[in-house]
């Protein structure tokens, strides 16, 4: 499945670290010292091991270098906002290129809210589907359906955006939003004019995009729960649902949580689909009908044309903020996984 780890770095089962090239063992074991070591080294060099080691090491080091370069470039190209605004940048609410007054809060808000909404919609649906696929569906159907659902993860983001603009937004505007307004309109969440585009549209698109991740991982985790647990529950008289809901799912809780974090990480960084349906207005509004803006969307829209150096660097700074957000989520995911493998639940 593209884009996420199936197995977290498994425990060690490493192959031998050094080759045992019979021919290279010294005849007399007492020969220590520089000459012996040098000859050994030359032998290993000739046999190609050191070179292979070196080449692969360089590749691995290259990865570190590239990532380091990336972080460095982001930092080095955004000094102005830190000088001018400092930490207040994160709390600023205005986005005024004319007055050169920039604040990140509307974008952080938009990113977080659209992702949270996506999770709210996707987690019940995803976990429910995973339960069905792991507990109830016969193996053939389960595999076939999972295969199809995993394909959903491969659909490019711009195609989600395409369908978002032409299918989702009109549907929201003509059917869903009026319905929500009439039934739940007393909540500030569902007030205000209905454009179709807006936070709700972004949340729904993101939800559809992250569902396959939640389903796939949760299903694996649920399948890995020992049969004994299920049987024990059934043995004391639980219905299948009760066994699932009260025994199996809690057992797999950590893995499901990990899948949620993974999906969140994906949702936070999503650019194209969100840009096309979120309305592109840097405003913090209580209503889900209102347009908003996410960090990735504003960078995509304004980067090529930032009118001043400060503007450009502010956008790069926003990229850094987004990066750190995903790092934090990433770290949380790993923590959850670590606690998981410790207890021996998932995988």
């Amino acid at each position: 499945m593209p884009g996420f780890p199936k197995k977290w770095w498994p425990k060690k089962s490493r192959p031998l670290r050094r080759s045992i090239n019979m021919a290279s063992l010294p005849i007399t074991v007492e020969r220590a010292g520089l000459e012996h070591r040098a000859r050994n080294f030359l032998r290993r060099l000739r046999s190609g091991d050191e070179i292979a080691h070196l080449i692969t090491l360089l590749a691995a080091a290259g990865i570190l270098l590239v990532t380091g370069l990336l972080i460095y470039e982001l930092f080095a190209n955004s000094p102005l906002p830190r000088q001018k605004f400092g930490w207040a940048f994160l709390a600023g609410r205005t986005w005024d290129p004319v007055m050169e007054n920039f604040g990140a809060l509307p974008f952080i808000y938009g990113t977080v809210v659209s992702s949270a909404l996506a999770l709210l919609l996707a987690v019940p649906l995803g976990v429910g589907a995973a339960i069905f696929l792991s507990e109830l569906a016969p193996p053939g159907i389960s595999n076939a359906l999972t295969f199809v659902i995993e394909l959903l993860a491969a659909v490019p983001s711009v195609i989600y955006g395409l369908l978002g603009i032409f299918v989702l937004v009109p549907t929201l505007r003509t059917v869903v939003q009026p319905f929500l307004k009439t039934t739940l309109g007393f909540l500030p969440l569902f007030q205000g004019p209905m454009f179709g585009v807006g936070m709700l549209a972004a949340g729904v698109v993101l939800a559809i995009m992250i569902i396959p991740f939640i389903i796939s991982i949760s299903r694996e985790v649920l399948l890995a729960v020992p049969v004994a647990q299920r049987e024990a529950a059934l043995a004391v008289g639980a219905t299948r649902w009760e066994a699932t809901w009260r025994v199996v799912v809690p057992f797999a809780r950590a893995g499901i949580l990990a899948s949620v974090f993974l999906a969140l990480g994906r949702a936070l960084g999503e650019t194209m689909a969100v840009t096309m349906v979120i309305g592109n207005d840097p405003r913090i509004s209580a209503s889900l009908f209102a347009p908003g803006y996410s960090i990735a969307a504003v960078i995509a829209n304004e980067f090529a044309e930032a009118t001043s150096d400060l503007h450009l660097q502010v956008l790069i700074e926003l990229g850094l903020v987004l990066f750190f957000l995903t790092i934090v989520i990433n770290a949380l995911t790993r923590l959850v996984i670590l606690s998981t493998t410790g207890r021996g639940t998932a995988h």
Binding site: L16, R17, I51, A60, V148, W245, M276, G319
Partner: protein, 283 residues
């Protein structure tokens, strides 16, 4: 007591039906997307789409020939960057690595995987476009290539780890050196998983739009060589979709269909390749 049991039985049936509904909804999404694209894109797909260049606004008969070629070129560049580094890095982690260094490499790879694609575009812009003072296919290829690295590393490492230790030991016992073991025994044994990983990686990167927006930019003409901006399928879809022209919408559907089919075929093919079965986790 009986009524409580009835309630429990009802709940059982109800909840499981609900979960079934969830599963079929999720499946339904894919079929809806595919069907919608087949319907709209299929109608708009014609020979002109594959062979003509884009025409000015308002003129009919335009196509996306240059975008198709441009995407192919970008993917070629991306694999030149991502595949060697990813493969060798994965080999290092699986075969040669020490403990602490490997930990850092894995952590950094995870980090790189989490970089939002738009930030990758910024990176390629500052590192390639600005010094070269040019939007170019090179910059776009680099951005996509760096995005490929983490998944390539991970899939290579995992595939190599599935090779049984006995295979390695057998080769070593016969007197092969370490690298010979890896090159002639371990890698070929894992090659299917490795290739699958690369194909999936490529398919994912083929659909990325954000990193190309300010690196490869776009081009109304054929892009010659590697130094010029180039049109690409995802960027064209984006540009045409947000425009108000009906003709452009039509072409966006067609391009979307082509892109989706390419990605799906690659995915399905790669899956069948590695497992010969349908699902990653077999029940």
């Amino acid at each position: 007591m009986a009524s409580r049991n009835t309630w429990r039985k009802f709940l059982n049936a109800f909840m499981f039906s609900l979960t079934g509904l969830c599963a079929f909804t999720a499946v339904g999404f894919l079929f809806f997307i595919l069907g919608y694209l087949l319907w709209n894109g299929g109608r708009a797909l014609n020979w002109a789409f594959f062979t003509h260049l884009p025409t000015p606004v308002g003129e009919a008969g335009g196509g996306m020939a240059n975008a198709l070629v441009g995407s192919a070129k970008l993917l070629l560049l991306a694999s030149l960057v991502g595949v060697p580094m990813g493969f060798l890095g994965g080999v290092y982690l699986a075969e040669f690595g020490g403990r602490t260094f490997s930990f850092f490499v894995r952590y950094t790879t995870d980090l790189l995987n989490g970089v939002p694609s738009i930030v990758m575009g910024i990176f390629a812009y500052t590192v390639v476009v600005l010094p070269m003072r040019h939007f170019s296919t090179l910059a776009g290829g680099l951005a996509l290539g760096v995005m490929m690295i983490p998944i390539a590393v991970r899939s290579t490492e995992e595939s190599l780890r599935t090779v049984p230790q006995t295979l390695r030991e057998g080769a070593l016992a016969l007197g092969a050196s370490k690298w010979k073991t890896v090159a002639s025994v371990v890698v070929p044994a894992a090659i299917r998983g490795i290739v699958t990983g690369f194909v999936l990686d490529l398919a994912r990167v083929a659909g990325e739009t954000a990193p190309l927006l300010f690196t490869a930019f776009s081009n109304r003409f054929w892009s010659l060589g590697w130094n010029q901006p180039t049109a690409s399928l995802p960027v064209m879809i984006y540009t045409y979709a947000i425009a108000p022209y009906e003709d452009w919408h039509r072409q966006a559907w067609a391009a979307g269909l082509v892109l989706l089919l390419l990605v799906l075929v690659a995915n399905i093919g790669a899956r069948l390749l590695v497992t010969g079965r349908m699902s990653v986790h077999q029940v």
